[in-house]
Every structure is written in structure tokens, then in C-alpha cells.
């Protein structure tokens, strides 16, 4: 996909996030929207995957360490063809395969169950180590929240990944700056994030605008060239990106739009879509 097509797809992924959380009357739109570009880029450009063969042992792996942003993940998977986009409205409903947090037994395309913060990166490290031990050349990607890196387990995993020089591992931090109780800088500052990962022997790439598809593409291209150490991509993003009233609002971390808000949000995204069509 070219950049414009990816931008259009990210907008479709956003519509899926708003639709799913509206239908669920709960869920986490803010951090899903901030990562819409990353989800899109990974599943439509970066990763070696095939929805027709979700169990291919040689496929690239993705672990959503910030598992609460499942709506963004599910929307990307659905648009990529792992299951029908129509399923998104069943999010968090009884009997749905779309659980509140990702579950590998339930949802096609989900490589690992997650949701308890800090654990996903550790599992991703295990997957990367496994690839190295088996001489396979798949890559492993894991997406973390900036609040999530307050969890100590993240740094246990980072220490091991750096020690083992897992250059098939790419850790992405969605630095949208907000967590449930407010600004990450106020609650318990994780900054400087880049220097921390550097100290753990990662190659670090700072992305000034993690909602800019070209910058994302450049970062992942650079990550692929790095040998002998894992990569951490720190993406500065906007929480709630694309929905006017959700942007930079911690309150939209874990609440869903009502009918009225849903209409406004979808209108916002329609406008973005129309503008992209004019390009």
C-alpha cells in the first residue's frame, strides 16, 4: 500500500474503533485511536502475515502488550480480512469472539492473549528468542502504552532482550502522554523513555509524530536494518486522535461514545476520509 492508501485505511480502522466501542457501551477508544496508524502500518505493510494462514509458523508475530486497546487491534485485523468487519459491533457482547482484551483462542489472527499490562512484551521476547533458537527469520512486534512502562516486568523483559541481542524484536511505545489518572508525567513519569531503552541496550528510534504514516514507515524501515540489538520505537501520538472531542482527553481512555457522540465522531472521521479522497 502507498502512504495515501495507508492513511485511508487508518481512517477506516478508526471508524471501526468508534463503532465497536459505541456498540459495546464500554472499552478503550483513546489509546486505540492514538495507535490506529501503527496498527494499520503493521498489518497492511510491515508484517509478513497472511490472513488465510494465521497459524503459519514462519509468520511475523504481534503481541498487543497494551491489550486494552483491543478495539484498534480488532479493527485492523477485521479490515485485513481475518474476520468480517461486521463482527466489530459484537465487541464485549456475551458470546462474541471479540473479548474485552485479546484472547488467542477466540479471535482469528491474535497471536497472544494479553491485557494485564507488562506481560505482552515479556511474551514477545520469548517469541523472538524462540525464533533465534530455531533459526527462523520471522520478526516480533509488540505495542506498549507509555503508562504501561511503569510496570516493572517491562524492564525485566527489556533487560533480557538487550542481553540476548534480539534484533528480531521491535518494541513500540505509544507515547500519547495520558493514562487513567491523568498525564503520565504527573502520575509517575516514565521519561526519558528513549534513554531508558538505550540503557537497556536497545536501538531507539524517536518518532516525532506517531500519527504520521510517512514517519512511521521510515521508523520501521530503519528498525529492519538494525543488527545485534533490539529496537524500540517511541512514537509521540495524540490520544483519541481523529475524534475532535476525544483528542488529548484522559477521560476517553476507558469510556465509550453514546449515540450522540458516536454521530459526531463518525462525522469527524467521514470528513477526514473525504479530505483524503481529494488527495
Amino acid at each position: 500500500m502507498n502512504i495515501l492508501e495507508l492513511q485511508k485505511m487508518a481512517n477506516e480502522v478508526r471508524k471501526g474503533i468508534v463503532t465497536a466501542t459505541h456498540s459495546a457501551k464500554s472499552g478503550h477508544p483513546g489509546g486505540s485511536l492514538s495507535a490506529a496508524e501503527v496498527f494499520t502500518y503493521l498489518y497492511f505493510e510491515e508484517m509478513n502475515i497472511d490472513p488465510a494462514r494465521p497459524d503459519d509458523p514462519d509468520r511475523d508475530r504481534f503481541v498487543l502488550s497494551k491489550g486494552h486497546t483491543a478495539p484498534g487491534y480488532y479493527s485492523a485485523l477485521a479490515h485485513r480480512g481475518y474476520f468480517p468487519v461486521e463482527d466489530l459491533v459484537t465487541l464485549r457482547h456475551v458470546g462474541s469472539h471479540l473479548q474485552g482484551h485479546p484472547c488467542r483462542q477466540h479471535t482469528p489472527g491474535v497471536d497472544m492473549s494479553s491485557g494485564s499490562l507488562g506481560q505482552g512484551i515479556s511474551v514477545a521476547v520469548g517469541m523472538a528468542l524462540s525464533g533465534k533458537m530455531s533459526g527462523k527469520d520471522y520478526r516480533v512486534y509488540t505495542l506498549l502504552g507509555d503508562g504501561e512502562i511503569q510496570e516493572g516486568l517491562v524492564w525485566e523483559a527489556a533487560m533480557f532482550a538487550g542481553h540476548r541481542k534480539l534484533d528480531n524484536l521491535c518494541v513500540i511505545v505509544d507515547n500519547n502522554g495520558l493514562q487513567i489518572d491523568g498525564s503520565v508525567a504527573d502520575v509517575c513519569s516514565p521519561y526519558p523513555i528513549d534513554k531508558k531503552f538505550e540503557a537497556f541496550n536497545f536501538h531507539v528510534i524517536n518518532v516525532a509524530d506517531g500519527n504520521d504514516m510517512e514517519q512511521i514507515a521510515a521508523a520501521f524501515a530503519e528498525a529492519r536494518t538494525i543488527k545485534g540489538m533490539p529496537t524500540a520505537i517511541i512514537m509521540k501520538t495524540v490520544k483519541g486522535k481523529g475524534v475532535s472531542f476525544m483528542e488529548n482527553q484522559a477521560s476517553w481512555h476507558g469510556s465509550a461514545p453514546n449515540d450522540e457522540q458516536y454521530a459526531v465522531a463518525m462525522a469527524d472521521l467521514e470528513k477526514v476520509g473525504e479530505a483524503l479522497c481529494q488527495k
Binding site: 497472544m112 515479556s122 511474551v123 514477545a124 521476547v125 520469548g126 528468542l129 516486568l153 525485566e156 533480557f160
Partner: protein, 313 residues
Amino acid sequence: MSEVKKIATRESYGNALVELGKIKDDLVVLDADLAGATKTGIFKKAFPDRHIDCGIAECDMMGIAAGLAATGKVPFASSFAMFASGRAFEIVRNSIGYPHLNVKIGATHAGISVGEDGATHQCNEDIALMRTIPGMTVIIPSDDVEARAAVFAAYEYEGPVYLRFGRSAVPVINTDPDYKFEIGKGIVLREGTDVTIAATGLCVSGALEAAEKLSADGISAEVINFHTVKPLDTELLAASAKKTGRVVTAEEHSIVGGLGGAVCETLSGICPVPVLRIGIQDVFGESGPAGALIAKYGLDGAGIYEKVSAWMK
């Protein structure tokens, strides 16, 4: 009587891993800076490339094991029971249990027989913790023979397994040439009619000793080795309880939530009979030589005998 051979089940664990490692290429072993104590060091020596030392980071070790299992390896993740089941509980629950990954947890230094290190390292709660995780199999081998068989069976079984091993040498009791280990199947070691002694781990040998003494007093005790506490062999348990009308549980674990808990939960529904739970009586342990502690807390043959005979009066 010839002298009984004694060996610690952690030693059996290390030996079995090497034996299995020779024939199974996908077997990998993880440790958290305790390879010398958990005996995975024996495996490390034989297969250095398949031994992963995670450093002192048990939670990360469990996550890494999950990732290895999700990509086709059969990991045995090893640490002391306290850290494997306690510190790492939530990772085991959410990243191994919930996704039902094929991770084997080799937990050594379980129970009070850790000895001198004392209460912080004597885990008397692990069976209870692990038993609450849906889909988790919990095995407590009673001796060297059973520990080896359990490691082999755990490898063949698809799904998460918690294997509980001890630090101290215990007598080899499963010397019957027809001995057969099957996950979830209890083994009747001695038939009896007056009382059932359901034992697990190092208390199995004590239970046999107690049964012998009880027999001299005219009490016929049936001894069953429940090496698998989950899934529990409910059929065998209920049949024996129905026959004897009284059940004693004996384990090197808290009387809360372990074999005693599992037996009471089971029998209360299908065959309610009085149950005496022998184990750590809801207290923390203490420092001392393992043998002295086992005796002090009444988990040896003499202790089990005393409690059962007092209860039977």
C-alpha cells in the same frame, strides 16, 4: 531390610530433563538464577544452547516461557515454588493459563522441607494457588521414580502443568515393577477398610509407614497416592471413602486449599464423610533441618500415625 535409597525429587527433575532432552529437540529449559539448586544445571551442562537463564526475574521467565510455547517449543520453566507460583502467579494465570499454553513449570524447594532458609522460602501455598487456574494440571511426585515419570508425562501432555519437587532427599517407594504413572490417576498403595489416607508428595512414604503402625493396632488403613491433585481422581477417592467412611489427607502444604481442600470439595458433593486434614496448620514455617521440621510439623510416619490414631479413637 535393605537400606532404602533416597533422592531429592529436584535431582530427579534435572536428570529427567537431560534424559528427555536427548530425544526431544523442542524441549527447552528456563531458570531464574537457581540452576544449581533447581538442578536444571544438569541439563545446562548437557544442552547449554537449550538452557535459558533469565536472571533473577521469575515473572519475565514465565512470560518468555509463554512466548516459547506459543512458537512451538516445550519449555520447562524452573524456580523455587515460592517464586514460580507466588511471585509469578499473575503471569502464570494470564499469560500461560488463560491462553492455555504448553508451558511446564518445574517448581522445586516446595514445602517446609526447604529447611534452614525458613518461612520466606518455604512455600506451603503453591498447590492452592495453581489449582485455582482453569486448565492447569498440578502434579506432586512422591519419589524419584514418580518424578521422572511425571516429567515425561508432562512433556507428552499438551497444556500447562505445574510440577512440584522437593529439596530434601526422600525414600524411593515406587519400586513395584508394574508401577504406572498416568496424569489424574491415583495409585492405591495399600488396601484397607477402616480409613483412607490420601497422601501426596513426601507424605506418601509417611502415610505408608503410618498405615503399617495402624495395622499393628488393628486399624486397616487404605493408602492412596494422589500424585495429581488437579485433575483429582475423584472416582477412586469416592470409591475408597465409601468403603472406609473416613478420609485423612496428608500433604507437605497448607491444610487450606491443597490436597485437603480438593478432597473436601470433592467429597462434600458426592460422598460426604469426616475428613482429617494433616498438613501445615495455616501457619508459616521456620528455620531448621528438613527432617526435624517434618517431624515437628507432624508430617512424617510417626506424626501421621499419631494424628490418625487419635482421630480414630
